[in-house]
């Protein structure tokens, strides 16, 4: 009675296509399909819907079933470092995140540590105005580590319980830029006595297989605690995060769903899998 489902190669081919088109790596796709075959042998589903439910369970093994919470420090200020390659949505995500955290009663301080790109400081300052959160900034060309040093001091003296650090986009292949990022993280460590409470990689949902290279490289410079997956309001699914979860055990914590202040939500693994399987 379950032969249609156990060996239905059309179902498998369709599943493979869904995953690969969503940018899940081929290796991860094959691994998930192999686990599914094992489960199907064991559980003997009788319908396609039951087989799909088994598959969602396999996905849950990789992504978890519950949102991964954001980490706060027992001793304020909590410091979150926002990093990633160029153009993924770091600055915009910080604006949205500050808004989200203000709604939860926090007093965020924004840090304009992108001292390189044209008008990066101004961009964050506009977000600061929108959210009504102060922004610590130096001049363009200043040392990002110096800006962060000032910001942590200012957070303490002005009673900010949350510090959100915006950093310049950087390709993980550029060693000098990765060294700069390490220096920023070290400054946080020296000033607070611990690593940033969150080091969040901002990943664009349209990114393909390079997303895995990005996560692997960044985490070697600054141990990553999570991912912000942006631009999920497009047609891209960001499936590389499944590969990243499987290989690096790094969870998605937040998702960006647009360009407006309210377009940021906590990542729900079950909702994400539902959307993927549509």
């Amino acid at each position: 009675v379950f032969t249609t489902v156990t060996l239905d190669e059309d179902f498998i081919a369709e599943l493979e296509e869904t995953l690969v088109l969503s940018d899940v790596a081929m290796a991860t796709t094959e691994k998930l399909i192999e686990s599914l075959r094992q489960q199907v042998k064991k559980e003997r589903p009788e319908t396609i819907e039951q087989a799909k439910a088994l598959f969602k369970r396999e996905m849950a093994r990789v992504l978890g079933t519950e949102p991964a919470p954001l980490q706060f420090s027992p001793q304020p200020p909590t410091v979150w470092l926002i990093l990633g390659v160029n153009g993924t949505g770091k600055t915009t995500s910080i604006g949205k995140l500050a808004n989200l955290m203000k709604q939860q009663g926090y007093r965020p301080l924004l840090v304009a540590a992108d001292t390189f790109r044209a008008a990066a400081i101004e961009q964050l300052q506009i977000w600061g105005q929108r959210v009504d959160a102060p922004v610590i900034a130096h001049r363009p060309g200043a040392d990002p580590a110096a800006v962060v040093f000032d910001a942590v001091r200012a957070a303490r003296s002005r009673g900010h319980d949350l510090v959100l650090v915006d950093t310049a986009g950087r390709l993980h292949t550029k060693h000098n830029l990765m060294a700069e990022l390490e220096k920023v993280s070290r400054v946080v460590e020296r000033e607070t006595g611990r690593q940033p409470d969150e080091s969040l990689l901002v990943l664009d949902a349209t990114t393909g297989q390079n997303g895995l290279a990005q996560a692997s490289a960044f985490t070697q410079s600054v141990p990553l605690t999570g991912i912000i997956l942006t631009k999920l309001d497009g047609t891209a699914k960001g499936g590389i995060v499944i590969t990243i979860a499987d290989q690096l055990h790094l969870p998605v914590k937040l998702v960006g769903t647009g360009e407006k202040i309210g377009d940021l939500a906590v990542f729900d693994p079950q909702e994400y899998v539902e959307a993927l399987m549509e």
Partner: protein
């Protein structure tokens, strides 16, 4: 790379007198994996591997001692063909100003590329004008103004309370009055499924009739490239492609889908954040990069 992986696949074929379908499958699978890893579109990979399979069998190379290298050569040649063969030159209008419009998804590098293009045009003795029509993104106009200062190129802007269509029209008049011969219109990043924004892009195009509408694509784009490229081409119409962030290690296979759905050439590639980081596109080099 691919050559080494094919060595393993072909080792089994060497002793055989005749080849069965399954024998060739292993080799084709390695090619398929390499291309998917490089973000080449799923369907493009299927068609491509079918073509390579036919060529390889036809050329009777599969039992050859050098089969792996010969098959890689076939794959490379087929990729170069899909990528557009020859590097393409920039054409200028005989009735200046030449009008160039940059479009694309959010964050792909349009604003920075406008600056790079302006810098290159100056080196070619042109008098470019940058036009700021992104009235949405915080400090986007400031960003283009800064870029203009760095490139030593004038920037036409009307703040953020005037419609992009109006800004573009007035910019072209401004260029004509001042004898500036190339107008580079930077536009806001937009989703291909955002109907209002796609209509806006089409309206800007209709208003100023650009000689070149360039789609700016991020080299790390994955399978979604085909969707965005299709919509941009259908809704706005694309004359050329600029592939950015090639200074990273993304293989850039998405360019094949963009090429396939637009049929248009890649005119330039972005290889860094500075304003001199713009190069012509070399299909041969890109094929090598995609193959890894």
């Amino acid at each position: 790379g691919l050559s080494a992986k094919l060595q393993n696949a072909f080792a089994k074929l060497r002793g055989k007198v005749t080849l069965k379908e399954e024998d060739v499958d292993a080799a084709m699978r390695e090619i398929r994996l390499a291309l998917l890893e490089a973000d080449v579109n799923f369907k493009v990979v299927r068609e491509f591997v079918a073509q390579v399979r036919e060529k390889a069998i036809g050329a009777d190379v599969l039992k050859n001692l050098n089969a792996p290298q010969m098959v890689v050569k076939i794959v490379h040649e087929e990729l170069v063909k899909l990528l557009g063969g020859e590097p393409v030159k920039m054409k200028f209008s005989s009735h200046p100003p030449t009008i160039i419009m940059m479009v694309g998804l959010q964050g792909t590098g349009k604003t920075t590329t406008c600056g790079k293009l302006a810098t290159w045009l100056k080196s070619e003795r042109k008098k470019p004008l940058l036009v700021a029509t992104d009235v949405y993104r915080p400090a986007a106009v400031d960003q283009l103004k800064r870029v203009g200062e760095q490139a030593n190129v004038p920037v036409f802007e009307m703040g953020t309370n005037v419609s992009p269509v109006e800004i573009a029209k007035q910019a072209v008049n401004h260029a004509r009055q001042r004898g500036l011969d190339v107008v580079i219109i930077d536009t806001a990043g937009r989703l291909h499924i955002d109907e209002q924004m796609m209509r806006e892009a089409a309206a800007i195009k209709a208003a100023v009739q650009p000689h070149e509408t360039l789609l700016v694509v991020d080299a790390m784009t994955g399978q979604d490239a085909v969707n965005a490229a299709t919509e941009f081409h259908n809704a706005v119409g694309v004359d050329g492609i600029i592939l950015t962030k090639l200074d990273g290690d993304a293989r850039g296979g998405a360019i094949l889908s963009v090429r396939q759905v637009t049929g248009k050439p890649v005119k330039f590639v972005g290889i860094g954040e500075k304003l001199d980081a713009l190069e012509p596109f070399y299909p041969d080099r890109m094929a090598g990069r995609i193959l890894g």
